[in-house]
Assembly symmetry: C3
Homo-oligomer: 143 residues x 3
């Protein structure tokens, strides 16, 4: 069992901020403390955490990956989207984020992004929640 979120990506390449949708999945679960596991079941898209305050950061991540990999030539995979596959593996296809007090435990500037590298397309994201009480934490770590 898991929750499936669906997103329509807007362009060939784009970072889509999905923080609110994931937070809503956490809220609806009623879970107070635990872990939120997020998975992208696609091979030319991925998931990352980065700055959500300035949307230019997401555009620079797309730009930076393009500078690194370009579209180039000489790829073996016949569909012509090898750079998108490589970017997906560099970014990764899953995330784990803590849940504290019913909220995603993100840093001040962090948001959760679906990274589209071969769109625009309809993309799915699967969310699973691990409830607390499954967790035990150190109480007296000195440093």
């Amino acid at each position: 069992m898991m929750e499936e979120l669906v997103f329509e990506t807007p362009a060939k390449e784009a970072l889509v901020d999905i923080t609110d949708a994931v937070q809503e999945a956490v809220r609806c679960s009623g879970i107070h403390d635990g872990l939120c596991f997020i998975f992208c079941p696609h091979t030319t898209a991925g998931l990352t955490i980065n700055e959500s305050a300035d949307p230019a950061v997401g555009r620079d991540i797309v730009r930076g990956l393009d500078r690194i990999l370009g579209d180039g030539a000489g790829w073996e995979h016949a569909e012509g989207n090898s750079p998108a596959h490589i970017k997906a593996s560099l970014i990764g296809s899953s995330l784990t984020v803590g849940v504290t007090g019913g909220q995603l435990a993100l840093g001040t500037w962090q948001g959760i992004f679906l990274c589209e590298f071969d769109g625009p397309r309809r993309r799915r994201v699967w969310v699973r929640l691990l409830i607390a009480g499954k967790e035990e934490l150190g109480l007296s770590l000195p440093h």
Copy 2:
């Protein structure tokens, strides 16, 4: 406690599809729903999820990382395999995948790959399973 899988990688650099071996570990565990955590205890190899239908994708991932990093020169680490270490950190050393109905919850085109960057070698992969009942999921998320 965990399950150790062992693979002989075939070349200096290669993506080895280990999906069936991981799925067999899930099957033998008898777990129906939960999470599968996979870890690579090596520093010049990693784990990724990408397309398993066309083996050319894995070869293009190797090719793309080589174009990015090459073997270059001017590395400080004296063993001469710094690009392999860097690739391992870019790809990552662990994966988490859902388990639903006793099956790895992967997308249609996804497979799990051990990424060899400094082989051929014998490589180990550690598998741990978290059983469901530990999970609780939102049932009424509207979107």
Copy 3:
């Protein structure tokens, strides 16, 4: 609930070996078997696992990422640290490591590193532990 570790990073870019601090968090928790989840709540820093025996490996990872991305120009994000944001997404912001017998289940040469890409700064790392008994493992996997 989680444990917060704090580190002062030494330079603009550096890999800081935090293995001992994370292991101490595991020890203080009293957990014998389970999973250790580590999260970096920053957008220009990340977490990776790589070789801890030779500190030159960490310096070569910094060097390699700089060769890939440089500081370049033409970024849209006005703070001038877009390469640091991109590196953070390439490296990733969280790790999961098994715990066996009260010890982090790392490979022989592996250590856990906080990756600073826009320092020096005070950086936080959040540690959560999942206790065993939550886990069930295959006992008879043949291969």
